[in-house]
């Protein structure tokens, strides 16, 4: 009898509160743009913050309000951009995915004036000390970027970070982690891109004193391929708006002639490049 009564009372109470909440929901309804929810559904929901917003939901809101571009999600890439654009009813222009490159190619044995450092083993810590290696611009090699990567796409190889472009999503966490601003996101128009792997702004003599491979600012590349290369100061720079990732005759010549060893290809080797490499390897082993 008690149980029956209890059930009846609770049922009645539930009914009352359900009605109350139902009415309140109608009165206090917030008119939210339904597109926010739709866009949120097509986003990767990794909440990595690579877009610059607090999470996927924030980004979705910003896109609808026009504060973020529809291809602003670096992780989702072109597919997500197309989905978002379809919801918003606009066309998306195909853009190249942004991927990180490292502006220091010096291996451990290339760096000069390295002194033992026994402080906190982070780049931020070593950067404050400042004298752990002679080059004040180069990679410190204490893996702050590797730790920042949530996609396991960065690894320390021979004293410098190497990006695994199969795993990289271009979220930019490593860019923020580097205390020397050596990592930059560039548009990968091809699967592999030419990179100036040096950031030393000193003159040729100073560079030679601290690094075996650093850019000496000889302006040779600018002379051979003025469309692609610029040397504004003592360091070469590649104009990624004009550089298409194609290996033109001029670029080949520059690669041949460059006295430093800082023009490196980053990214996945394309199929034809891979074949070329294999052929070269076969030729050398035959000799």
């Amino acid at each position: 009898m008690t149980i029956v009564m209890a059930a009846i009372i609770l049922f009645g109470l539930t009914l009352i509160f359900a009605t109350l909440l139902g009415v309140a929901k109608e009165i206090l309804r917030v008119d939210e743009d339904p597109r926010i929810e739709q866009i949120n559904e097509v986003l990767p929901s990794a909440n990595c913050g690579g877009c610059g917003f607090a999470g996927c939901a924030d980004f979705a809101k910003a896109v609808v309000e026009g504060k973020a571009p529809c291809d602003g999600c670096p992780v989702g890439g072109a597919e997500t951009a197309a989905d978002v654009a379809a919801i918003l009813g606009i066309e998306v222009v195909q853009t190249a995915p942004f991927r990180p490159i490292v502006h220091c190619g010096a291996k451990t044995q290339d760096k000069l004036g390295v002194v033992p450092y026994e402080g906190i083993e982070t780049c931020v810590g070593a950067n404050i000390v400042g004298v752990t290696q002679a080059c004040a611009y180069g990679c410190l090699g204490y893996s702050d970027c590797v730790r920042a990567c949530t996609f396991d796409a960065l690894h320390m190889v021979e004293g410098r970070p190497v990006v695994d472009y199969d795993k990289c999503t271009g979220c930019g966490a490593c860019v923020k982690a580097c205390p020397r601003d050596l990592i930059e996101l560039i548009p990968f128009k091809e699967e592999r891109m030419l990179v100036v792997a040096c950031a030393n702004k000193e003159s040729a003599k100073a560079v030679k004193a601290v690094c075996k491979v650093g850019c000496i600012g000889c302006k040779l590349c600018q002379r051979f391929a003025p469309d692609v290369f610029e040397v504004p100061g003592n360091i070469a720079d590649i104009n990624y708006e004009k550089y298409t990732g194609e290996e033109t005759e001029e670029v080949k010549k520059v690669l041949d002639k460059c006295p430093a060893e800082i023009l490196l290809y980053f990214g996945r080797p394309k199929l034809k490049h891979a074949e070329q490499l294999a052929a070269e390897k076969a030729a050398t082993s035959r000799n």
């Binding site: 009898m1 008690t2 009564m5 209890a6 009372i9 609770l10 109470l13 539930t14 509160f17 109350l20 909440l21 309140a24 929901k25 206090l28 309804r29 917030v30």
Partner: protein, 207 residues
């Protein structure tokens, strides 16, 4: 229990300072430690809890005195026969009130809504609210409706006071040189304990 102005003042001071739900009852510790990082957020949380606790106190009083007790008294000759229902019923009332507050805040104060975030729905499981509602039924002096309302409102204010003081102290702790073993949760719990100790100084005021 007579309804007099003096009793009401006594109940109010008692629940805000002397028998503070957080410091003397050890209720609502989760939001007390979780949302006390910034003082404006702590105050917002305190306001939300005060509103929910007052509404829930009033409604649960009605449920106990107007529904459960009369029905039980008439059908089983024992007004306390259905008292086991109070837990389920009270939690339902609190959950509904939280939903209501959430909808209201989202409509009228979106910044506060986003600032409170996940802690707003978590008020549902804030034991200070359920505790206050159960105390109201247990204590002889809160049997009249007005006294119960004052007890509930005071309980909310006490929570707001506690969490605001805590947030103020924690804002200062962030800039102070805390010994390494005490950093983080350690110093927070120490401060909470010392605060509770300080509040025992009010013991003896009123009843």
């Amino acid at each position: 229990m007579e309804i007099s102005f003096a009793t009401m003042i006594g109940i109010f001071i008692s629940v805000v300072l002397v028998n503070n739900l957080v410091f003397q009852g050890f209720l609502g510790i989760c939001p007390f430690l979780g949302v006390s990082r910034k003082i404006d957020m702590a105050f917002g949380m305190g306001c939300a809890v005060t509103f929910v606790i007052t509404m829930a106190g009033a409604i649960t009083w009605c449920i106990m005195h107007l529904i459960l007790e009369p029905i039980a008294g008439r059908m089983f000759d024992d007004p306390k026969a259905l008292n086991f229902l109070q837990y389920v019923a009270f939690i339902m009332v609190i959950a509904s009130m939280v939903q209501l507050v959430e909808m209201y805040l989202r409509k009228c104060f979106p910044p506060l809504y986003t600032a409170l975030g996940v802690f707003l729905p978590l008020i549902t499981t804030n034991c200070a609210i359920l505790g206050a509602c159960l105390y109201i039924y247990m204590k002889p002096e809160t049997q009249p409706f007005l006294n119960a309302l004052i007890y509930a409102f005071g309980g909310g204010l006490g929570f707001m006071l506690a969490i605001s003081i805590m947030a103020g102290i924690r804002e200062h702790i962030r800039f102070s040189n805390v010994p390494k073993p005490f950093q983080g949760a350690g110093i927070t719990l120490l401060v909470a304990g010392i605060l509770a100790l300080a509040f025992t100084g009010f013991t003896g005021i009123g009843k």
